[in-house]
Symmetry: C2
Subunit: 322 residues, 2 copies
């Protein structure tokens, strides 16, 4: 059993070896979960509760996450537990960067107080070799943290692109962070945020326009359909820089968890599982297509289509997966 053996790394991670945990997350980024046979360890044992935090750049997601780390250590009680959690994991997701592991943490320096706190584990995740991209690497990483004993994982995205919405939607709960200001609610609707949010946080709520933003959001939620499991997203106002509203935010999180525990969580986990299976399958198919495109048959058929001697549909009929 070498130092790089994933099972040994996981055992060490359970014993709070942070270097082992970080290495294991690198394994996940590099798509070696299934290949190395550790997928069952990540997916069939202890699972962390995960909260995706998304919203436009500048909405104050990092500062809010910072507050949530501190508050969660005081009051997040895991399912079946009787006391607050001992540790919280934070995954910072940047789909635009090929780097990770802390090198490009950028404004993560704001989290530096926690970085010295042994109860907090912060890690950036970026697009590396994982065949399914971040929408599979992040659930795997949440699995790693859960298997290592974490009860809560916060997943913060840098922006609101398609990949980031997909990532946020893989968490057990999703918080969308907005700021006061005309049209923010409308922008959220345009970006597809209304569909994925369990909780809306209007951050910087000490600025003008917070109550209007709440009203606009509420009206849009009236018009739009409720989430499939009957949950109506809650709206919380916060001032992350001062900590105002953090208690109310965790009250809202508790209400959501109670809703999920009452049965809605089962349907949601099924839906997430179905999405995962489709993504894994699609990723494998995409890899097969890439393999196919490297064959001599493909090259010949491309030539035949380009010169008009065969139509492309007939050409694909002639392709056989290697």
């Amino acid at each position: 059993m070498t130092k790089r053996d994933p099972e040994a790394l996981l055992q060490a991670a359970k014993e709070q070896n942070r270097v082992a945990l970080a290495r294991l997350l690198t394994v996940v980024e590099n798509d070696e979960v299934a290949a190395r046979g550790i997928a069952p360890l990540l997916w069939t044992g202890h699972r962390a509760f995960s909260i995706g935090i998304t919203g436009a750049p500048g909405a104050g997601k990092s500062t809010l996450t910072d507050r949530m780390i501190a508050t969660s250590l005081e009051r997040f009680v895991p399912a079946g537990g009787s006391a607050a959690i001992r540790e919280v994991g934070v995954l910072c997701v940047d789909p635009t960067s090929p780097f990770s592991g802390g090198a490009i943490l950028g404004d993560r320096v704001r989290m530096q107080d926690h970085a010295l706190d042994a109860r907090v584990f912060i890690r950036s995740l970026a697009t590396r070799g994982h065949l399914g991209g971040l929408s599979l690497a992040v659930p795997d990483a949440i699995g790693v943290l859960g298997a290592a004993g974490f009860d809560l994982v916060l997943v913060e995205t840098v922006g609101v692109g398609q990949v980031e919405l997909e990532v946020a939607a893989t968490a057990d709960a999703t918080i969308v962070v907005l700021t006061p200001g005309w049209g923010d609610a409308m922008q959220a609707a345009k970006a597809g945020l209304l569909e994925i949010a369990d909780l809306f946080v209007i951050n910087k709520a000490d600025r003008p326009g917070a109550s209007e933003a709440r009203r606009d959001l509420s009206q849009m939620l009236d018009i739009g359909s409720a989430r499939p499991d009957g949950w109506r997203p809650l709206i919380v106002e916060t001032v992350a820089t001062s900590g105002d509203g953090t208690v109310e935010l965790f009250d809202a999180i508790d209400a959501l968890r109670a809703h999920l525990a009452s049965g809605a969580g089962v349907a949601r986990r099924r839906e997430q599982a179905a999405t995962l299976l489709r993504r894994i399958y699609a990723a494998r198919m995409a890899r097969a297509v890439e393999g196919l495109a490297a064959t001599a048959t493909f090259e010949r058929l491309v030539e035949d289509v380009a010169t008009g001697s065969i139509d492309p549909y007939a050409a694909v009929d002639l392709l056989q997966l290697p």
Copy 2:
């Protein structure tokens, strides 16, 4: 042979029966090309030269297209021909609309002069049943028009979303329409337009900022790589409302066609064929995944993953395509 037989429709379309042509395009939208056995007719015979026209809403694409219709009838000489074309086809592509066929033409009323001109055929295309979406339906539709005898097809998109870029890139040549104004060139770069453009049109060039826009664009083209086939995109200034610059635009199109005819066109057609084959293959795989998701095995595996009794990678290993 019924009226709806695609081969009969194509024969009628060749004889300038516009109703038959419109019906054939509906067939294409509904993804019945391969199923009905007409793909060879669309892809292995006479091909039209196609020009994609894309750019942000409000850049004046419709008015420019309008000018291009008129000018192309006067001076577009098909490959191997000796006189200007007799007919021009226009496909208006709106990925956001499920409707088509003229019902939602919207500002296409601006093209109404041409709509009464028997030499011009204008048709909207929207997302219907085609399994590959518009990025396959549009090439098929260009094939229909080519098979019906058209030598030139203009493909205008309503905006610059991902689908629209893909659609524009399926044409033989791509025109990106910008307007003067600070940052437009930068926006174009962000939207991925620099990579797909063969020609840039700075429309509304009578407004302030046209020469700055040209300079910014030119600098970006200096920094960015040339197109893979060595073509450096040309920049043309137009005022579509008055027709200024339309002659220069067609001079630029002629220069591009000469470049493509000199050998670069072969590589480009190969590249397009390879992209088409991948898309068709991926679309068929996606359909297979949908079929899979409807099976009892899939449902059972979803349940097993949701309850944590199997990991999702192992679950996908157990899936078999129907």
